[in-house]
């Protein structure tokens, strides 16, 4: 019962016929930190998109927080999304909103109370270390800072799961470490984290479970694993 993410025989065929996932079975426990690695085209992004229901599996079950989201009705998807934080390589911030507004946006559009929004936004900005930049606009920030804003936004609704698709892909090594530090803090609060990455040095030095995908199949699944590919 303490599984947070369970996949049972998950297949994904894109409309053009590409088989991106071929029978994935796995389970991720509450509070776990998982790296998803593999060569490009292996199916990492597809795997990530399955978890936040951007894509539906062609076959199989995806059970998140004890609910099969493969059979979720379209109307319920938004409410499900509120339980999943998502972070991307390209940050996806709104350029015309300040740091504060970008984070608050996520809570406003799910109709949270203004008093709560104010308090919570300050909390998460504090957590990612950007409380002092709340009035800046995204283009006034470094890449690492922008990513931290995007992380703050993804966790402001206290999702039990945070998924990240190559969050350090656009960042230099030093900044990447700062991001990992933020993830570590979030993980310590009990949030389950799944992170697809190409970053060998991070995977090899900050030890967590490693799931390696190749050709849409899990070829390796090790606790405290290694990146396993040449950087």
């Amino acid at each position: 019962m303490d599984d947070m993410i369970v996949m049972q025989n998950v297949w994904k065929a894109y409309p053009n016929g590409v088989m991106a996932l071929n029978g994935i079975d796995l389970s991720v426990k509450k509070g776990e930190f998982v790296y998803v690695v593999g060569p490009s085209g292996a199916g990492k992004s597809t795997f990530i998109k399955m978890i936040y229901r951007e894509l539906k599996p062609t076959r199989g079950k995806i059970i998140i927080d004890n609910k099969n989201i493969a059979s979720l009705r379209e109307r319920q998807v938004p409410y499900f999304r509120r339980k999943i934080g998502v972070v991307f390589q390209d940050f996806k911030l709104l350029p015309k909103l300040t740091v504060y507004e970008n984070v608050a946006f996520a809570l406003e559009v799910i109709e949270e109370r203004p008093v709560y929004i104010k308090k919570r936004v300050m909390e998460v900005l504090d957590l990612v270390g950007l409380k002092h930049k709340l009035r800046s606009f995204p283009d006034q920030l470094s890449g690492g800072e922008q990513q931290r804003v995007s992380i703050a936004r993804s966790i402001c609704n206290r999702p039990p799961v945070l998924i990240a698709d190559e969050p350090t892909g656009n960042l230099d090594p030093e900044t990447s470490w700062q991001i990992m530090d933020v993830f570590k803090r979030i993980n310590l609060q009990g949030t389950t984290i799944v992170m697809a990455t190409h970053n060998k040095s991070i995977v090899d030095s900050i030890k967590h479970r490693v799931i390696a995908l190749e050709g849409g199949m899990i070829v390796r699944d090790e606790l405290e694993g290694e990146y396993g590919y040449e950087a």
Binding site: Y52, E74, R75, Q76, P78, Y79, F80, R81, R82, K83, V86, K92, L94, F105, A106, E108, V109, I110, E111, P114, R153, S154, N157
Partner: protein, 308 residues
Amino acid sequence: MCEMNWKGNMVMKLRTMRRHVSESLKSLTRNGWMTFASVSAVTVSLILVALFLMVMFNLNKIAGDIEKDVEVRVYLDRSTTPAQQNQLEEQLKQVKNVQSVTFQSKKKGLNNLLSSLGSDKGTFEDLQKENPLPNVFILKTRQPQQTIMVANEVRHYPNVQDVRYGKGTVEKMFKFINIARNIGIVLILGLIFTSVFLIANTIKLTIVARRREIEIMKLVGATNAFVRWPYFIEGLIMGILGSVLPVLLVIVVYHFAYYSLSSNLSQMFISLIPFQTMAVNLSLLLVGVGGIIGVWGSLSSVRKFLKV
């Protein structure tokens, strides 16, 4: 969790509504020229709708008034003697379907005419002396359709100079109304579709401008309804803005038309739809049609974009 949210959504929170409205206003002003073009298109369409309906409603009313008329007016020869007149009256009473026969002397007829003109009687002093009107028997039938038979029957009676009833006029009017209606409907539907198309395009632009925003909204769990609301309001605002000028026009034009035509028409025993009735009903209709055009335009472009 779902249940709680469902309940929360039943009554939209005031601040959420405020947010949607302010989002719509922002994007309406951001796309000022497109907004202006769309609103103008709605305005032009609705002005034509308004003019068309003002005329059609009245023609319908007049035709209805005449059609409801069960009167046959039998005009007497000037040379008719009182004895002949009494004899004719008896004959008329015998005609099938005739319910009542009323005599209207030429003097009474003139008085009716003068009072309906509402003018100072002095001007028509000459008429009093040299009354040009004939004496009239007014026959009533039970149903409008019977007037035609009665009229044809009594036309050949002695001392009858002329027989008048509404039917012929009504038929001609309905023919005219039908043609006018068909032309009007085609024209107006064309204009309405054009307006819908223009509004859809404007909304499409504003959606493109906010694509990133929508992507993030959906990512963090905003409902489709929440995403859709501002566009819905935007369309509604454009449609209603488009109806402002037509509504004013209706009020001014119909006020003028009604008060200048009514008294002339009342001599012909025809009455127009009262000013207030027309102003209120047509205005509501125009605002409604404007709103529908706007909402239709906006929903048709949002649907494509959200794929919902």
